[in-house]
């Protein structure tokens, strides 16, 4: 039996994309999923939590953000600050759909990655690497600057 014949077609396609992505030379061919880092909010002394923000632009096939991790925090999870009648609720988001052609903003007061149990306080000027896990595409690591938020 040829290798991978027991693997369902969808998984084989995903695997192929994975291998292609891994073998693609750096700096060639535009990545179908463009990730623009924004920032991680700097934390006060003793803080255990903060939020990370970025923009996802999917020029490829439908995908979804299904998880994230970072060496800076014991847990990283996707949340949405949902606003209703002046009340803000934090809702966990298990899977963030990234349909083909979509741009999704993770920004203050909306979708964000919540970093919990920070290993160290995050001072302005530092950077935090966050690995993003996707349903179809390969994992991607993004470097985010630590900033005090500039109010607008």
């Amino acid at each position: 039996m040829p290798p991978f014949d027991h693997v369902p077609l969808a998984d084989r396609l995903a695997l192929a994309r994975h291998v292609l992505a891994l073998s693609a030379p750096r700096g060639e061919a535009p990545t179908p999923l463009e990730i623009t880092p924004r920032f991680v909010r700097a934390t006060p002394p003793g803080a255990r939590r903060t939020a990370a923000y970025l923009t996802l632009r999917n020029a490829g096939a439908d995908d979804a953000l299904i998880g994230a991790r970072s060496a800076a925090a014991a847990s990283v999870s996707l949340h949405r600050s949902a606003h209703e009648g002046g009340v803000m609720r934090m809702e966990p988001v298990e899977r963030l759909a990234l349909p083909s052609g979509a741009t999704v903003e993770l920004e203050p007061g909306g979708l964000h990655l919540m970093l919990e149990e920070l290993r160290v306080p995050l001072a302005p000027g530092a950077t935090v690497a966050v690995e993003l896990l996707f349903l179809n595409g390969p994992p991607r690591t993004v470097e985010l600057p630590v900033l005090r938020e500039v109010p607008k």
């Binding site: 909010r41 934390t43 006060p44 002394p45 003793g46 803080a47 255990r48 939590r49 903060t50 939020a51 925090a73 014991a74 847990s75 999870s77 949340h79 600050s81 606003h83 002046g86 009340v87 803000m88 609720r89 934090m90 966990p92 203050p108 007061g109 964000h112 919540m114 970093l115 919990e116 149990e117 005090r148 938020e149 109010p151 607008k152």
Partner: protein, 193 residues
């Protein structure tokens, strides 16, 4: 005559220039009635009564320091609003009241508000005191379990309240309202005389 500006236009231009430095046209202030003052414990550990602030506009926000997204954003905006208003020649004060009194001790408030260079006072108290203040002010808060580290989040009202010099509730800012709008509201209060 080509060098002369018509009187009406000159007046309009003068008004326009004055308008830039004078009273902003937005936001439209309301009157939601008398603000109910309360006494809690400040970050210094001393008791603090909001009635002692009469004569100054108050920008009041409820939140908690373990909040990762909305509270730090609002604390930053509130601080910037007060700095803008002071640059305009007005003298508001920012007040932060915790909705998580178990975690937000005076020491914790000192650390966090110091980090944000918060231009005002942070207040905490016993859970009963905080509940009473929330009820009299109409602020919702509910501690909700969450999966990650701290184990909880506190869903809560995130509007910023504007209390005027006379102690009346005059405006509710929504999350995302820019610092300039808050500073402009303070300028409009000042223009009321």
């Amino acid at each position: 005559m080509s060098g002369r500006v018509p009187l009406g236009l000159a007046l309009a231009l003068t008004a326009l220039v004055a308008g830039c430095r004078g009273v902003p046209s937005e936001p439209a202030l309301q009157d939601y009635g008398a603000f109910r003052d309360f006494e809690l414990t400040a970050q210094t550990g001393e008791r603090f009564d909001t009635a002692s602030l009469r004569g100054r506009p108050i920008l009041l926000f409820f939140g908690y320091t373990a909040c990762p997204d909305v509270c730090p954003t609002t604390l930053s905006r509130l601080g910037e609003a007060v700095r803008l208003a002071r640059a305009d020649g007005n003298d508001p004060i920012a007040v932060f009241v915790t909705v998580d009194p178990q975690a937000d001790t005076p020491t914790r408030l000192t650390e966090v508000l110091g980090f944000f260079e918060f231009p005002g006072v942070g207040l905490t108290g016993t859970p009963e005191e905080i509940d009473a203040v929330r009820e009299s002010t109409g602020i919702f808060a509910a501690k909700t379990p969450s999966e990650g580290g701290a184990g909880y989040v506190v869903d809560h009202t995130v509007s910023v309240l504007l209390v005027d010099e006379a102690g009346r509730l005059r405006y509710l800012f929504q999350t995302g309202d820019p610092p300039r709008l808050m500073a402009d509201a303070v300028a409009r209060l000042a223009a009321e005389g």
